[in-house]
Symmetry: C2
Subunit: 275 residues, 2 copies
Amino acid sequence: MHTELHTDLKKFDRVVYIVSDGTGITAEKFSTSLLAQFDITYHIIRIPFIDNMEKANNLIDKINCINHHNKPILFTTLVNQQVSNIVHKANAFIVDLFQAFVQPLEQELCLKSSHAINRSHQIGNIEVYEKRIEAINFSLGHDDGQSHANLAQADIILVGVSRSGKTPTSLYLAMQHGLKAANYPLIPEDFARLELPSILLKYTNKLFGLTIEPNRLSDIRHERKPNSIYASLQNCRYEVLEAEKLMRRHNIECLSTTHKSIEEIATTILQIIYI
Amino acid sequence: MHTELHTDLKKFDRVVYIVSDGTGITAEKFSTSLLAQFDITYHIIRIPFIDNMEKANNLIDKINCINHHNKPILFTTLVNQQVSNIVHKANAFIVDLFQAFVQPLEQELCLKSSHAINRSHQIGNIEVYEKRIEAINFSLGHDDGQSHANLAQADIILVGVSRSGKTPTSLYLAMQHGLKAANYPLIPEDFARLELPSILLKYTNKLFGLTIEPNRLSDIRHERKPNSIYASLQNCRYEVLEAEKLMRRHNIECLSTTHKSIEEIATTILQIIYI
């Protein structure tokens, strides 16, 4: 909670505190979505692990000492009532993200809420967590076609030309969804042979294609290898065209990554493969 | 939205729909935190990209056709009023995650909300997004000490014994926070020399240590190499002890990963390095 030392808070319309008993990651993302509806500038300070009264008191002392030029906004997801009561003493506009929903849910479910500390980013179920770590290691070991071993264990194998987004997407699928996501490049040799890399022919049911607009691909490749044939628009057009042909021939579902973030690509893939 | 075909929904107390105009990733995590307060079993069906009235109508037709044995719960973050109105016709207990906060925020900020589609997981600022992709590639290229090139560009270099959690943490820091996170193993040769790998001596200000309880480390290593000296408790005790000694000698901040998830490790690191 020392970010304010390095940042000129007066440059922003509002300072936004995210106070959580866990990591505050979800609360921060949620608050950011809400604030995106408003045309203001803001600086976020995420304050995690506020899980007892002492930490809460220290925090409020600090926040209330800062000379904010506009009232800060404080988002909180604290479930312990005593800790929450302390945080509500902040000189801030307080948005309690949980309180609004707990009571209606209690009524609908005919249950009392446990007020247990938010467990969403704790290890939780150790087996699920270990599966996730295993998936990350698998995806890392099967990045860019670097290993053929255990490809049969892959949940999904992404294919596409170099720099079409395969690597970050594989890692995201592993990290967030626990999927063993391998990826395999389609390269000029494959286009000359008019065929997929032979190792992949056994696994066509696991393949998912990523494609990209040649202009965008050329820009990305120029960043890496400026003025190379590899990055030239002509070559990018050729590679993308041939890769898409190969995918069509094998009925491989394919998605354009040009205007999509990793999260959007991953979400779209999951939507398609789970249908 | 066909998950229900593969899953016996009757096994769960409730079916939970997450309906979003974006990916629904944040809405799902937030809803899961809320539901964690209640002792019920549930099955989540995330329905992303509901960004027009036609999609909303189709969705509601589908949901309302399903024979739920208990009223489903439907969490939504739709900002378009017309789309939202349609989704509110679902035969479900509806929790509108945005509506509760938009009006109070409008009042506090003296602004109208834009009702623009949630942009939290879109590419948004292209420079920030490209920095994130670059960070992922950097972290991948600097995993497990595999490259010394450009180590000067690293934002952080994680050090620790093999299997202490360096790889998933580096990738998470890159993917979620856009940090160029390298990692470098501390190995028996370093302990014999009683010194850090020489390449790291230039960068001690960027080093952050991960450690782990020897028992847990031994379990993790046995999964990889059963009954090896590498995995033996005695060797794990030795390596952890020596690694911690080295870190202390160079005043390297150090964190135990034993009971922490990747998100908790990353959050704690950010807390420490930004102080």
